[in-house]
């Protein structure tokens, strides 16, 4: 287990315990349903058991961890059904953000958006799956930032955290980029046209296609 272990002399509080564990879960270092024993974790991340305990409480309310009284914590496994629900909520909330972004985008924002669009085109034509996946994240993050919707941002962070595994599998699905590219470009275009309704519609269509794709992708990699 090549767990990132950074204790010893380095000031550990620089990176709060909860962030270390959250990262480890989202990066897939801890598998779904894996037990998270407080004593073990406190050694691995070099923190006190109480700190780990607090972190687990917090991650539970974030939906990443499941805790049962006197039975400990484990990484929460989100089912396909839950993944669909989460993406449905994402669909409407990101739709809202796209609409707000279309209302508020400055010329500089629009340049950034168009730039990402161009990079996406080249990534897809060049078959750069991983690069396209990164651009995908950047695009959604940018739309969120431009929208200025702090509350939506927090909600989406949490939802995305719960869904990383499904998102990852989807990104690696063959043929997926060529489906989502035109959708992404439509979102960018609508925002640059300052057309809120079109932007919301485009974002919703994009995430609706994600929802449609989830069941198929789920079949390939088994949930163990």
């Amino acid at each position: 287990m090549t767990t990132a272990k950074r204790d010893d002399d380095q000031p550990t509080d620089q990176v709060p315990v909860v962030d270390v564990i959250r990262e480890a879960i989202t990066r897939g270092e801890f598998a779904p349903n894996q037990r998270l024993v407080e004593a073990e974790l406190s050694e691995q991340v070099g923190a006190s058991r109480a700190a780990v305990r607090n972190a687990l409480v917090q991650l539970t309310t974030e939906g990443l961890v499941e805790r049962i009284q006197n039975r400990g914590a484990r990484v929460r496994a989100v089912s396909l059904q839950e993944a669909i629900e989460i993406t449905e909520v994402r669909m409407v909330v990101e739709g809202l953000c796209a609409a707000r972004a279309a209302e508020r985008a400055t010329e500089e924002d629009k340049d950034d958006l168009r730039d990402i669009g161009e990079q996406m085109r080249t990534a897809v034509s060049g078959g750069d799956v991983w690069g396209y996946s990164e651009l995908n994240k950047r695009l959604h993050a940018l739309v969120l930032r431009v929208s200025g919707q702090q509350t939506a941002h927090e909600v989406l962070s949490r939802l995305r955290g719960q869904n990383v595994r499904h998102q990852f599998r989807l990104a690696m699905h063959p043929g997926r980029p060529s489906v989502s590219l035109p959708q992404h470009l439509a979102i960018i275009e609508a925002i640059c046209d300052a057309d809120p309704a079109a932007a919301e519609q485009a974002m919703r269509e994009h995430l609706h296609s994600v929802i449609d794709a989830l069941p198929e992708v789920d079949k390939t990699g088994s949930t163990i």
Copy 2:
């Protein structure tokens, strides 16, 4: 301070500490920006300081409490701007739920909805503000339940918790019920007609009118 203090022989874990404190905040027993000192709280709710501490961590991630390193916790005061953002997110997520409810409602669900509608009518014509406010909560809860959207339910619970103060002030605003009654009836009708698009639209219009009303209501009661 008539804090509900139920310690002594009764098993305190029956009602977890975090729920007690959350209730106290949402019921307004703790004012916004009020400091929440761990030692004080642990006496008031009859729990250990560690338990209170955990509860405060959890409530922080729920957005009800603000915590600063070495400086303690206080009740988070949500500004008008934040209240608007929260209601915007509510608008789209509850819109989603209304659409799902329109797709899934059974005849029994529809009877329940129409029943609430009738009670709302009589409450408004009778000037029963508090009764109407209760029916309002019941309607939104029922739509959520019928939608079967667990994820949306969790998201909305958290958002509603942060917004209780503004919601309360809005409910007590004179003339508000007669504005929202027809909107509520439209939502009920669309769901009973099994028309998802209309249900979503009606719910969004309803919450949009809430957003429009928030700034006015905010002027009356000062934020202190």
